[in-house]
Amino acid sequence: MSDDQRFGPGRHVVLPGPLRLDGGGALAPVEIAYETYGTLAPDAGNAVLICHALTMDQYVASPHPRTGKPGWWTAMVGPGRPIDTDRLFVVCANVLGSCMGSSGPATIDPATGREYAMAFPVITIRDMVRAQAMLLDHLGVARLKAVVGGSMGGMQALSWAATFPDRVEAAVVIASAARHSAQNIAFHEVGRQAVMADPLWNGGDYYRGEPPAAGLAVARMAAHITYLSEAGLTEKFGRRLQARDAKSFGFDADFQVESYLRHQGLSFVDRFDANSYLYITRAMDYFDLAEEHGGRLANAFRGSGARFCLVSFDTDWLYPTRESRAIVHALNAAGAAVSFMELSSPYGHDAFLLDAPELYRVVTGFMGGGA
């Protein structure tokens, strides 16, 4: 298999499509950038799909080519890790609509020879999942041993179990929700408006010039606050001043927290496309798994024989524990095999990406690699 060009890091495939979209219409061809780790078993029975969060990418366990930083979940995915690439075949794809090689607004529209920009169709979480299913067909994976994701990745994992019940044996859903709340949508709208208020955004048509970096940086700053907890921010920064002894009585970044957010915003614009940010946040806002199944969340899981494992964090106010519990209740009502834990962490929503030994222990146990 080692010479099979479909497998390995830094892969890219163009599938003919068409991919039918929830919003109507279809996408063809469908480009998907992805990475695979480990070796696919002869019966293809050891495949695990990792679904990434909003601003993550396919580089889950290998260095990011643009930033040089390690993969975003190297503590979770790798040899001897909870998702053990010594025995599992792991796939992580850049989601549809994103900007690291999968079809998105920055892709060239074959019809016009120019970037799609805002002519790219509005997509949904389920469209992302259908695109991933096309990729798995291409890789020869009929059934997933597990689909795993946090935050938006968790939404995809839920959508996988609901959309392809026969293709999913187990789902791990971390710090996520079955729908976006009004508050979630509100924060995303702030970010989108920041992007669109930047004159350089130019109706989305900026690929031949300067990108709307200022607007995207503000969007990232606002979003970043929602990923942390008040206690975490206070512990990390308090009201400490940044590289000065006294307040400047001006609008420089006097406080460390301001300087930190500015840094987060600026480093983000180097690696992320503003239009992708609009499309992916929209997909998350539209997500409502119950609505897709007649208004009853339990109906989403009726046909599923999958095992589920849900984890929330007690300081996550973006996707609070009650959102996970609502999913657990629905899974119980549907008679599904479900495990759930609320873990304690000071780090808010971001906890699932930071060092979390208890999370690793639960996932290891759930994946069958534990005691």
Partner: protein, 202 residues
């Protein structure tokens, strides 16, 4: 697998292949035993996160939650057996928990320590102190047992509420003792109850 005597009795009387909800399942020892020995489809509810993690590590499906608040979400008669072992006396509203237990399970196992055991009586009568025994090792201020009950209290409760008893076992030092003298001699009781008939389940 060495099960606690009350759990061993429960394990002996669960039908093979049954669907079981173990409320307050701890680290999942009973669930794992039922699964491995009898092919039981077991689900658990447990308050302590460490216990949940341990049970998930055994490949079990366990939800971190509270018997006092989280049982309402299970559909009526969704399990062949609902099990409440050594948990009743720690619930804030044991009567409500029993109602839920009998609603969710076609049958229900309830086990609890008997606070009328002679050793407990002697301790209070002669010592004038709240008992600290092998089965009730915590002192008055750190015990999770907030609703103390006796075998006769439980029998009276079942009678008042019209709950049908299908079986009862009484234990002292891990051995079975007689039903007649259970209120004095049993350290521990296990009851098998019949679930509530529901005509409009769901």
């Amino acid at each position: 697998m060495n099960l606690r005597p009350d759990l061993a009795i429960i394990a002996d009387h669960v039908a093979p292949g049954a669907r079981v909800l173990d409320i307050g399942c701890g680290d999942g020892l009973l669930m794992a035993a039922l699964r491995d020995a009898k092919g039981v489809d077991a689900r658990g509810l447990e308050l302590d996160a460490g216990n949940v993690a341990a049970a998930v590590g055994r490949g079990l499906s366990v939800i971190q939650g509270d018997a006092d608040t989280d049982l309402a979400d299970y559909p009526a008669r969704s399990f062949d057996y609902a099990i409440l072992s050594q948990t009743l006396q720690t619930c804030r509203a044991p009567d409500k928990v029993l109602d839920e237990l009998l609603r969710i399970g076609r049958r229900a196992f309830v086990s609890f320590p008997n606070f009328a055991h002679w050793r407990v009586r002697l301790s209070l009568l002669w010592g004038g102190r709240m008992p600290v025994t092998r089965l009730l090792p915590e002192r008055w201020y750190d015990t999770p047992n907030i609703h103390h009950l006796t075998v006769d209290d439980f029998r009276a409760y079942l009678k008042e509420h019209g709950v049908a008893v299908e079986g009862a076992w009484f234990l002292s030092r891990g051995r079975k003792t007689t039903s007649a003298a259970a209120n004095v001699l049993a350290e521990h009781a296990v009851f098998l109850l019949r679930g509530t008939e529901t005509h409009n389940a769901g």
